[in-house]
Subunit: 255 residues, 2 copies
Amino acid sequence: MKDSDAQIISKDMVETHLRSVPLFSACSADVIKNLAQGAVFQSHKKGKVLFIHEEQASRYYLICSGWVKIFRETLDGTQAVIDILSARHLVGDRAVLLDDKYPYSVEVVENADVISLPSHELKTELERNPQLAQAMMKLMAQEHKQQVSEIEHLSIQNAPQRIGCFLLRLTTQGQKGRVKIHLPYDKTLIASRLGMQPETFSRALKKLKKETGIEVKGATVLIEDLQRLSDFSCAMCSSNYPCKDLTKKCSGACQ
Amino acid sequence: MKDSDAQIISKDMVETHLRSVPLFSACSADVIKNLAQGAVFQSHKKGKVLFIHEEQASRYYLICSGWVKIFRETLDGTQAVIDILSARHLVGDRAVLLDDKYPYSVEVVENADVISLPSHELKTELERNPQLAQAMMKLMAQEHKQQVSEIEHLSIQNAPQRIGCFLLRLTTQGQKGRVKIHLPYDKTLIASRLGMQPETFSRALKKLKKETGIEVKGATVLIEDLQRLSDFSCAMCSSNYPCKDLTKKCSGACQ
DNA sequence: CTAGCAACTTGACCGAAGTCAACTTTAGGC
DNA sequence: GCCTAAAGTTGACTTCGGTCAAGTTGCTAG
């Protein structure tokens, strides 16, 4: 069985997908057409590696569905999972700017449809299109903020708090009280995303249940009291203290 | 005693400092002049806070000398130190792009000369100057790479390895064999920069001595064998495995 | 030169998370 | 529907790093 398929889909489809990316949403039809040159749509199975760390970056990728894992790996196989991305996210686009090697590896972790795009078109478009460059800078500044949060979480939150924060980010803005959520991918994967072992995840989730009254059944989590979960998780998180005040914007704040 | 001084220094001086920043090095004299509008040069003592997390960002800062600490803080006072910057670095410039609040606090940790600059001029210059925008994107992509490394280090390196990596980054490219280096700031501060307690730092450094044969006397560290230190520290670091091969570029690689 | 204080070190202890192994549950392929 | 493999859980144990307390060192202001 093949673990990937280069499919012929219409140019229109590719362009529709491109337009769905926040970075490109304000681009004119012409710009989208340029960016779409040389695009290849592929359906990948779990396990497919899109590219690896230190490989020269010649293409970048748009995730249309499924999930991909961004990670780095030491010689002995220890992995550090940097992030896990889903639909409408780009990956590998940073290396384009620097004409450099990819700074990490990317692997499909839930069957994914992906559009592979040549770096060159994006690079030239960024050079001649100030609006796009502006959008790119904003996107990067936004992601910088999130990475700073990530570093903070790794350094000062304990395992149950990191899980709590993760759950809160799965809720949608403005929800209150009882909320039911569905874990987007394997618990083992969530564990590595949060920088802990599966065993630790399992035990920490148990502790979180006891501390915040959430209920867990398989991949379904019932949060009995959002505020209580937020109080517990955000105690060790600087994200604007209103994070504690769910009526404002907890889930958004914990970024 | 005042802990800061707004000094009148010549416009020329300010412009010279601006030109020393990699981001601005390729800018024309006119652009530099624009950016320098409303600049204020200040000498700050240790402890001075430049700005705090969640404050609306109206200015950004250029460090001319000394050291400043970028950090986030929870309600109970626990700090996560994100980075520690010195001369020719900008801080607070990301928030400019987003017209947003600062995503962290910044405090002077070694008496520092700082130039405070209005966000507005940078923002308009980035909008109308594609070369500058291009340079900004490259800078951000570069820093993104470093932050990914930071996340990796926090998740998979232990305390002695993180210290080893820090020491390696203090050596200059291409050095070999015996190297003498000077710690740039307090050990306590290095400890927090590396996400550990001062006691842990002290013990981990002792362990690093035993494992790699380095010698420590106050703030002076004598690395007997760079390769040996690199082998030990970079075992838990994905940064291009040649990192292990110092003849190439270890210190640069561990970024 | 000296007093005082901050930085640093060391020891004893504790708790969080990692490791290893055994076991249960779940989900996908035939 | 059954079988297998992977995912998840649990227990026992270890290790690393944090905490608290008691030093020591070293700098600096007077």
